[in-house]
Amino acid sequence: MSEVPLSDRLFAPGGLTPMFQPIVRTGEGPPSIHAYECLSRGPAGTNLERADVLFEYVRLKRIEAQVDRACIAAALEAGSEIPGAPPLSVNAHAISIATDREFAGALARVARSYGIETSRLTVEIVEHSPAFDNRPFLDGLGQLRDLGMAIALDDVGLGQSNYKMILDAEPDYLKIDKYFVAGCDAEPRQRAIIESIADLARRFGAEAIAEGVERPEELAALRSIGIELVQGYLFARPMPISSLVAAWAHARRVGREPSPLRAAGAALGRS
């Protein structure tokens, strides 16, 4: 009996499961949903069910462009069911944008096929390849912008995601990784890095988003730095579309705020 290759299972129906995690705005007013980041899980019961293993595998296989397209298609299909048509943030490897000349057009076609305006979309750039042709990458970014999409840089300060990328990509958002956020309330050196990224964001006309926020103390530290956009288990874990829709329907039925916003309000002492 022959086994279906793992990479083929990724592209089979149901091979990729989209998950959604809210990005919460915690400004002066009541907390609100800024957007949902669309995340992906690989085939259930395989090692690729874990996102970190899935994307390391994808990079080793050098199938970033195909998998990015497949993840985005699955995410937008499911994301079209989220009530209220909120903004959605999808992930793409920089090398996908640099090498897949049809990436922006394909993304736009998929979005429209699910009734999603491209102006609702942010593309989060994940950079792992040490070198790729910059010109087509910047052209690809330009096409995404022309379609009304925003650009975010993921994992700023980690790995290959560096100052050059900030200069080249002119992002609308800089995402600060959990590596810097976890325990930042107790560690001044982490806060110094976060402040530096937040300051960079301001100078470039962008906004910082802190990922991996798990504790109210971390949220308070981030707020004291002036970061309003936050994401993490403190508010909600990534969830499949069925759970998200059910949770929102329940909140509406009982006349309460959805749980991520209640969690944010409680953490900010506003509940």
Partner: protein, 153 residues
């Protein structure tokens, strides 16, 4: 694709987390030994997983070398047992795994299994840092004895 290809040296973001780092400092004798089995034959892989799990190993399995390397994004292993051929087409992917692990995880023990090995392959495996080179067929109890002895303090 040789181990000297640039991507091998690409720095991966370590998301394994503090818990795994701390676990790595606990002596193997005081916890389950973490074993990665890399084998493309599903039945052999399953048999090895079941056998070593019964022997109180914590076992992960991979069918391809990319899958095996990707698992290191999640955690580290005390020992890796890999087949030489992972494609069924005469490849030597097991050598890639040996080189990858030895460069990044010097304390991980490495066993290479092959039914096709020759002196040249064995010499190359040793050059890349394999601890034990074994010819198939080999019984699971015999393989376990080799693994146990590599992990014994």
């Amino acid at each position: 694709m040789g181990v000297d290809a640039p991507w091998v040296f690409r720095r991966s973001i370590d998301r394994s987390g503090l818990a795994d780092s701390l676990l790595g400092e606990v002596p193997v004798a005081e916890r389950l030994a973490r074993l990665l089995v890399v084998e493309d034959e599903m039945f052999i892989r399953s048999a090895m997983e079941d056998f070593f799990t019964m022997r109180k190993y914590s076992v992960d399995c991979a069918s391809e070398w990319e899958e095996a390397e990707a698992l290191f994004a999640m955690k580290t292993y005390d020992i890796v047992i890999t087949d030489l051929r992972l494609t069924g087409f005469g490849g030597t992917e097991g050598l890639e795994i040996i080189g990858f692990v030895r460069q990044r995880y010097p304390t991980t023990k490495l066993i290479l299994l092959t039914g096709f090995g020759n002196g040249e392959i064995e010499a190359e495996a040793k050059r890349r840092g394999v601890d034990v080179f074994l010819h198939k067929p080999i019984s699971l109890p015999e393989l376990a004895r080799v693994a146990d002895s590599l992990l014994s303090p």
